[in-house]
């Protein structure tokens, strides 16, 4: 994008390296804590006997369900992300490109935004009722549905921004050539917003992965997700820092891997759609 040459290149790369360092350093520090016993963490020690204890305790202690929690999180975050991308992208395209009456489009967008502003605290009570009523309480499907809804506003707004960046003429030209609406969307517009689709997907995934309040309330021990499990380490009288650090690392890494492959999947899927 910018042509970086000579001193501006050096400055840019230094700045970037500095930014990356600031962002990654606390994470590395947390990773370091995960190899310490609690007392070494409390003392802020730099020289300490390293241990796998925290990881073993998180994964294998008899009272731990962490592998199960991780699996639940993977299912919920993946499925809800795929669904919210489909539902949200279609809605965004609709509002951005198809001729809705002004008040409908505006009303719809305002509604999503106000919903997004509701403090989760006041949401979980009514949702508990709804999900019990439809029989999805304490199920993964229920939580998936909830996360789709929670992430829908941001997905719609983001995708609208990206659709609006595409000059409308490109699609119009195709339509004049006799291309159907469906095809114009699928083969022309969608591939052009691939980077946006990835960003929206990553954010929906991240928000679902870390969502605590609703997950706590709608799940049972068998369907609890990672954030619920990690909160157990912040107890009434003690924060188990070592286990919390280990659990955070164990939670972050599969999510990074999933997102990495998810991105490639989206890109490949869209290029295939475009070529056909």
């Amino acid at each position: 994008m910018l042509a970086l040459r000579g001193p501006s290149k050096a400055a840019a790369y230094t700045l970037l390296a500095f930014g990356i360092f600031i962002i990654i350093a606390p994470f590395l520090w947390v990773a370091l804590q995960s190899f310490k016993y609690q007392i070494a963490i409390l003392q802020g020690a730099w020289i300490f006997p390293p241990t796998w204890f925290n990881y073993l305790d998180v994964l294998y202690s008899p009272r731990s369900d962490f592998p199960l929690n991780l699996w639940n999180s993977i299912v919920v975050a993946t499925v809800s992300t795929v669904c919210v991308l489909i539902v949200g992208t279609l809605a965004a395209y609709s509002l951005s490109r198809l001729s809705w009456k002004r008040w409908i489009a505006r009303g719809f967008l305002a509604w999503t935004l106000i919903f997004n502003m509701i403090p989760p605290l006041t949401l979980i009570g009514p949702w508990y009722l709804i999900f019990r009523e439809i029989g999805l309480y304490q199920t993964l499907s229920g939580l998936i549905l909830a996360h789709i809804t929670l992430n829908l506003p941001m997905t719609i707004w983001m995708m609208m921004a990206y659709f609006n960046e595409i000059p409308i003429e490109i699609e119009d030209a195709a339509r004049v050539d006799g291309c159907r609406r469906v095809d114009a969307f699928w083969r022309i517009s969608l591939p052009l917003v691939a980077p946006g689709l990835i960003a929206a997907g990553v954010l929906a995934f991240v928000f679902s992965w870390n969502e605590f309040a609703v997950a706590l309330n709608l799940t049972s021990r068998a369907t609890a997700t990672v954030p619920v499990a990690i909160a157990r380490f912040a107890q009434e009288y003690e924060i188990q820092y070592g286990q919390m650090a280990a659990a955070s690392i164990l939670s972050t890494i599969p999510a990074l891997v999933l997102m990495f492959f998810g991105q490639r999947f989206v890109v490949q899927g869209l290029t295939m759609g475009a070529v056909k």
Binding site: A3, L90, S94, L113, F115, P119, W127, T149, G196, Y241
Partner: protein
């Protein structure tokens, strides 16, 4: 309601795309494309958000108590309003939230935009850099709060250790009236700059390359490219990032709750923390509902400027 939701579920529509050989179905979808695209989202919202929102409005004008395991609703709109206007802590919390939102969001927007343009300009390793940069938003919020509290610790924290290594005095990051809110802002900036970066980076990647190339051939310098071409083109994405960052900033809870609990004194009291106390701990459901509506109203008022941005996104 459930049945129609099934009929137009995302899966059904997705299936429609793959059934291209059955031209009849695709043609049918094409004719009603408007409805098929907005329908699923509308149904989902109607189904899962209408009731909570209506419930919130209803509760906000009542006082709700419990007896014989049943809810008892008493209509008390004026009393609830009176509570709101005499709630000194809410006023303080609102002010703190405003300060918090203005500073943290503006710093995050600037840093996020700078990072997005920088990363979009490097030639190799974009994917890797993007993956690394989203690590903060991927960490569980409860771990972020607990771990930063450890890092800010007066006696043992890594930040004060670093200060002492370079010969400075340790700082009471969370215990000083003037510093505590600032410390929370630091954590917030660390936590959420990647969010802004991610949205803006995608927008930067989607920019038409030809336009920028043409400008460069015309002799535009980097600074002009950024301020005259790139930023204006990215306006919709910037607006969306700003919009959702502001909403998230007004909802900030975990960081404050875990780092300071709103103290010392009221120096880090924020609206969501106050709502947590009133609605949840004190079980004042009616007044709590009114309080959350007041928070929503405050967010909307704050976004009044952003409304123009929203129009820019909605209809160019």
């Amino acid at each position: 309601m459930t049945r129609s939701a099934d009929a137009e579920s995302p899966a059904a529509i997705e299936a429609g795309f793959h059934l291209k050989h059955k031209a009849g179905l695709v043609d049918f979808i094409d004719r009603h494309f408007k409805w098929f695209t907005l329908g699923p989202a509308a149904l989902l919202l109607l189904f899962l958000t209408a009731y909570p929102l209506i419930d919130l409005f209803a509760m906000s004008v009542h006082t709700i108590s419990f007896s014989q395991a049943k809810e008892i609703w008493t209509f008390t709109p004026l009393a609830n309003l009176r509570d709101l206007f005499s709630d000194d802590i809410f006023a303080i919390a609102l002010w703190n939230t405003l300060v918090f939102a203005v500073i943290s969001v503006s710093v995050e927007m600037v840093l996020g935009l700078a990072l997005a343009i920088l990363v979009a300009s490097v030639t190799a390793g974009k994917g890797l850099i993007r993956t690394i940069l989203i690590v903060p938003i991927l960490m569980p919020p409860v771990a972020i709060g607990s771990m930063w509290k450890l890092m800010f610790n007066l006696d043992f924290g890594v930040i004060n250790q670093a200060l002492m290594v370079v010969g400075l005095q340790p700082v009471d990051w969370l215990g000083s009236l003037s510093v505590a809110l600032f410390s929370i802002i630091i954590v917030d900036i660390w936590h959420w700059t990647p969010f802004v970066f991610l949205i803006l980076f995608a927008a930067a990647e989607g920019l038409p390359k030809e336009v920028i190339e043409a400008a460069r051939i015309d002799g535009a310098r980097n600074r002009d490219l950024v301020f005259k071409i790139i930023v204006p083109l990215m306006k919709p994405a910037i607006a969306v990032a700003l919009l959702f960052r502001v909403i998230l900033a007004f909802k900030v809870f975990d960081e404050v709750f875990l780092l300071t609990s709103g103290g010392p004194g009221t120096s880090t009291e924020v609206v969501s923390l106050h709502l947590y106390k009133v609605f949840f701990e004190e079980n004042q459901i009616g007044y709590g509902a009114l309080l959350s509506l007041a928070i929503i109203a405050a967010t909307i008022a704050f976004l009044w400027v952003g409304q123009r941005a929203a129009t820019a996104v909605g209809r160019r």
